[in-house]
Amino acid sequence: MEMSWLYLVLCVGAVICAYRAMRTTRILVATLYLACISAIVSIMLYMLKAYQVAAIELSVGAGLVTVLLVYAISVIGDDAYDPASIIPKPLAIVVTLAAALLMGVLALPLVGLSGGGDAATAIVSMRSVLWQQRALDVWIQMVLIFSGVMGMLGLLAEGKSRQRSGLHTLTEIKGQVPQSQEYVQANQTSLAEKTAPQASPEGKA
């Protein structure tokens, strides 16, 4: 029964952190709440004897994703401008309650099934399942990580390459996008070349 109280405290903490992360006006604070949720979920996973999943969740959820969010905030700015939603709030509340009720009804058969099990057996079982029975999942994870990193690098490098080339200023409005030094120099030299032929005949005359 003590375990139930401990789980209750952790669950309430996770839900409060989730609500605060959603309602806070600063994205950086919301990021910290998200890291707290990750830590609480990791503790719960550890208590459920899913040690490896808990380690992955803690390192990825509370570490990597938090760092990525802080980096994004440093680029975008801590602007949590969040205008009124298109969906009315009462409708959103009704939809949420209906979904929660449905989830409760669907998950109800879970209650009362056989639980527990030895921790060592669970670890060995996960190893064998992951590397032998579900080897395709491991390959898909590798492909996901590779494609995700490539996609992120491509998306982040796109703006810089366009900015370096200066081509964007031909199609976009001046002043909205910062112009590169190379583009400014090229523009100045082209202007100088245009004015030079006009000046040379005068010199000859």
Binding site: M1, M3, Y7, C11, A14, V15, A18, Y19, A21, M22, I27, T31, S38, M44, L45, L48, K49, A50, Q52, V53, I56, E57, V60, L69, A72, V75, I76, A80, Y81, D82, S85, I86, A92, T96, L97, A99, A100, M103, L110, V111, L113, S114, G115, G116, G117, A122, S125, M126, R127, S128, V129, L130, R134, D137, L144, G148, M152, L155, L156, E172
Partner: protein
């Protein structure tokens, strides 16, 4: 003193439903792109917890845990690409409001 239904499984199940509900409500009312990524993260954390709990309850802990690990990796990639998109959208359109971006062209 404690009622019969007050077991760890039921408590975790209630927590999972609570996290899912908060995430769904945030997804419905939020228009900020970064916050959308965050509420997706909250929902996926609930899903990971549910997978592990379902594995424990059904006696197939290994399957649940391996699926949970796969979901964590996939969710991280979603966050990475979503944040990179948010940065690009902010650079191009100077906004992170998804409804505003959907009406823009260029």
């Amino acid at each position: 003193m404690n009622p019969e239904w007050f077991t760890p499984q039921n408590v975790i199940l209630a927590g999972i439903i609570g996290l899912m509900a908060v995430g769904l409500y945030g997804l419905l009312i939020t228009r900020n792109l970064i916050k959308i990524v965050m509420v997706l993260q909250i929902m996926v954390k609930a899903a990971v917890l549910a997978l592990v709990l379902a594995g424990q309850a059904s006696g197939r802990a290994g399957t649940g845990q391996s699926l949970a690990a796969t979901v964590i990796v996939a969710d991280t990639m979603v966050a990475v690409v979503g944040l990179a998109l948010a940065i690009q959208i902010r650079r191009r359109f100077n906004t992170v409001d998804v409804s505003e971006v959907s009406t823009l062209k260029g």
